[in-house]
């Protein structure tokens, strides 16, 4: 077989790694597309500055797929050493003690914990113990097309601050062709139904003063008036014709990129990609508020598996600590749009330089105080699919908002009840 060149090269590479590196760590992640080069760069820099540790970074699909792969890997005892997990998925693995409790390492460096942004830190603490370090945290922001704002006679530097303003602007930004067909929509509040389902809808409920679960996570509250109200409002955007009713999320993003939709919620982790690839001027703003000002906190963290040797644990800790240090979290922020996770980074001089270069990155940092982590439990993926289906039933006019959320809450309650009995 004529792959000798490649094989020799790979073998040499492996030999070299084994000869010079004492500890080899396998690191699974979900950073694809534009985020992957930035991550690879960080990893290779870590390797060159840490001659006794060698980290191999492997992309394993999106967050949900990584969970599946990791579950399967545990069955076959073929686990990696470090894994990037969505903060919402940590519990799936801590429930069976598959992730390393980081308390020991944290207590060795007390200054570390206090330097992480408090609300980010909370997302990795489960039952009082930290199981990961926040790494790529994002919040949901409003992306808008400044060119279209200008064309519609709106001030491109004054994005909507409330739902009402957003609706008014969206109406002005909706353009009809002479034959009555809509050729440009003002708004598309798309909600994902697959990986991180229901993500974009949660802040609407919160902004309307509602909650998705009660505080002990034993009851689903989407059948309450606040949540139903949010759903009604969301539906009205389609009914008024300012938002396209029959588009998948992906098609909506596509249309937004092509300049056929003026506004929509997107994760801050995509800001840099958008800046580099959009042919028009991008504006980024805090989500418009209603009764409350709030946005969703999402993203991933770096965790160490509990079944690896103490020596590897030390090395892995070194790695995840390094990945989240002030300098690297800023690099990561500048190249992706994921938020800096350290207070020292937020207060640094460099961040001002970054804002000068990419002013659109700044609003995401300003949104941090308003960002709320998503409620989580072990069955969260299934529950979110149920909630997503409920709003889809409303969008496609199969059910009224009241009925859809009432039915969904019933279904979710059943799952929560089963979970409690386990």
């Amino acid at each position: 077989m004529k792959r000798s060149c490649f094989v020799i090269f790979v073998t040499l590479l492996f030999v070299a790694t084994f000869m010079f590196a004492n500890v080899r760590l396998v690191f699974w992640h979900s950073m694809a597309d534009y985020q992957k080069p930035a991550l690879d760069k960080l990893v290779s820099e870590f390797n060159s500055t840490h001659p006794d540790i060698h980290v191999v970074a492997i992309y394993e699909g999106n967050y949900d797929q990584t969970v599946t792969k990791l579950k399967a890997a545990f069955l076959s005892k073929n686990t990696p050493d470090i894994v990037q997990l969505n903060i919402e998925h940590l519990r799936i693995f801590t429930a069976n003690r598959q992730l390393l409790d980081l308390s020991r390492f944290i207590s060795e460096t007390p200054s570390l914990k206090s330097d992480f942004v408090d609300s980010f830190w909370k997302t990795v603490v489960i039952n009082g113990k930290p199981y990961a370090l926040p790494f790529n945290i994002s919040c949901l922001m409003l992306f808008y097309n400044k060119d279209l704002f200008e064309k519609a006679g709106l001030d491109p530097n004054k994005p909507p601050r409330t739902w009402k303003e957003m609706e008014e602007m969206a109406k002005k930004l909706t353009v009809h062709a002479p034959n009555g067909r809509t050729i440009q929509y003002g708004l598309f509040w798309g909600v994902s139904g697959e990986d991180t389902a229901f993500y974009q809808f949660e802040p609407l409920i919160w902004q309307n003063g509602g909650k998705i679960f009660n505080s002990s996570m034993t009851k689903c509250l989407v059948d309450q008036p606040q949540a139903v109200g949010a759903l009604k409002r969301w539906k009205s955007w389609f009914d008024k014709g300012i938002s396209p009713a029959n588009m998948t999320l992906q098609e909506g993003i596509q249309a937004f990129m092509m300049g056929k939709i003026a506004m929509g919620p997107m994760t801050s982790g995509g800001i840099r990609y958008a800046l580099d690839n959009l042919p028009w001027d991008l504006g980024v703003a805090m989500l418009p508020s209603h009764k409350a000002t709030v946005t969703t906190l999402g993203g991933g963290s770096l965790a160490i598996l509990s079944n690896i040797s103490p020596e590897k644990q030390e090395a892995a800790w070194e790695f995840i600590k390094w990945m989240t240090n002030t300098k690297n979290t800023l690099y990561w922020y500048e190249n992706t749009g994921y938020l800096p996770v350290r207070k020292s980074a937020l207060n640094s001089l460099q961040i001002r330089l970054i804002w000068k270069k990419f002013p659109q990155l700044k609003p995401a940092v300003e949104a941090i105080p308003y960002a709320r982590p998503r409620p989580v439990n072990v069955d969260i993926i299934e529950i979110r699919h149920i909630l997503f289906n409920a709003i889809e039933e409303v969008r496609h006019r199969v059910k009224t908002p009241e009925k859809a959320f009432k039915d969904a809450a019933k279904k979710v309650d059943k799952i929560l009840e089963l979970e409690g009995s386990k």
Partner: protein, 274 residues
């Protein structure tokens, strides 16, 4: 009369050409898109032929993703799987069609029944078995579970049943044992059927997706379909690159088919598939 014949022939051809364009259009459209730059796709996605043809998508594809490696993996896995399936099917089909042994029919029907099991049902236990053998991330793990299938056995058995007994009787008188009969008599006669199995096994293996997804978690071992699907989930709107990927993933199997198609169509005719 001849004029009428001419009209009928034209009519026939036009219907067939309409059918053929329906069959060909998705291929054509994928290939065309794969040579368009992002800008052209955004600005004018509908020109049938790329106005500014570019290899950019292919270059990016091979730069960003080790597609060459994926192709090689798929090739190794598909060829070995095919080879093993032919060998195992030859042996068992011979036994089921010519040898008499206890429980033969029972075993045969038990094998047949496995065709009706949804693949996804077995994946997790299969995965556990492969893990126990230490075959995660290995060619063995990708190949051995599919080294023998009920379908190929069934197919070849049906073919063997149509081979007249006299042929082998002569060979037996000449002192051949069963194995020699199989190699010297059955193998040459069954070439068309075997090439059918070869095409189908290769195609099936080349196109399989779920099993590799589960068994492989290092990039060096990924197959083309896995690379393609992962590329898709990585998001973004790189339609030009997606289409370049589908072209690359499809081309080898199409080439293989073009070379084997004569055998293929002939063998279906021969077996009659009764």
């Amino acid at each position: 009369m001849s004029k009428r014949k001419g009209i009928i022939s034209v009519l026939k051809h036009s219907v067939l050409i309409i059918g053929a364009s329906f069959m060909l259009f998705p291929f054509f459209w994928s290939v065309s898109t794969s040579f368009k730059g992002l800008k052209e796709i955004f600005r004018n996605p509908f020109s049938f032929v790329p106005l500014h043809p570019t290899f950019g998508n292919y270059v990016a594809l091979f730069n960003e993703i080790p597609f060459a490696r994926y192709l090689l993996n798929s090739f190794i896995v598909a060829s070995l799987t095919t080879l093993l399936q032919i060998v195992t099917a030859m042996l068992s089909a011979y036994a089921f069609s010519r040898l008499k042994f206890k429980g033969r029919d029972l075993i045969f029907y038990a094998f047949l029944a496995t065709m009706m099991i949804p693949g996804q049902l077995l994946m997790i236990p299969q995965y556990l078995v492969v893990a126990r053998f230490g075959w995660i991330n290995s060619y063995q793990g990708l190949i051995i579970p599919y080294a023998a299938t009920a379908l190929t056995t069934f197919f070849l058995r049906q073919f063997f049943l149509t081979i007249p007994k006299d042929l082998e009787d002569v060979a037996v008188i000449d002192g051949c044992n069963s194995f020699q009969v199989l190699v010297k008599i059955f193998l040459p006669i069954s070439k068309p059927a075997i090439s059918t199995i070869a095409v189908f096994s290769f195609m099936w293996s080349w196109n399989s997706y779920f099993w590799p997804l589960l068994v492989v978690n290092v990039p060096e071992m990924r197959t083309v379909q896995l690379g393609l699907a992962m590329f898709r989930t990585e998001g973004g709107m790189q339609w030009g690159q997606f289409m370049a990927g589908t072209v690359i993933a499809t081309l080898p199997i199409l080439i293989a088919y073009f070379f084997a198609q004569k055998h293929f169509i002939k063998s279906i005719t021969l077996t009659g598939l009764k």
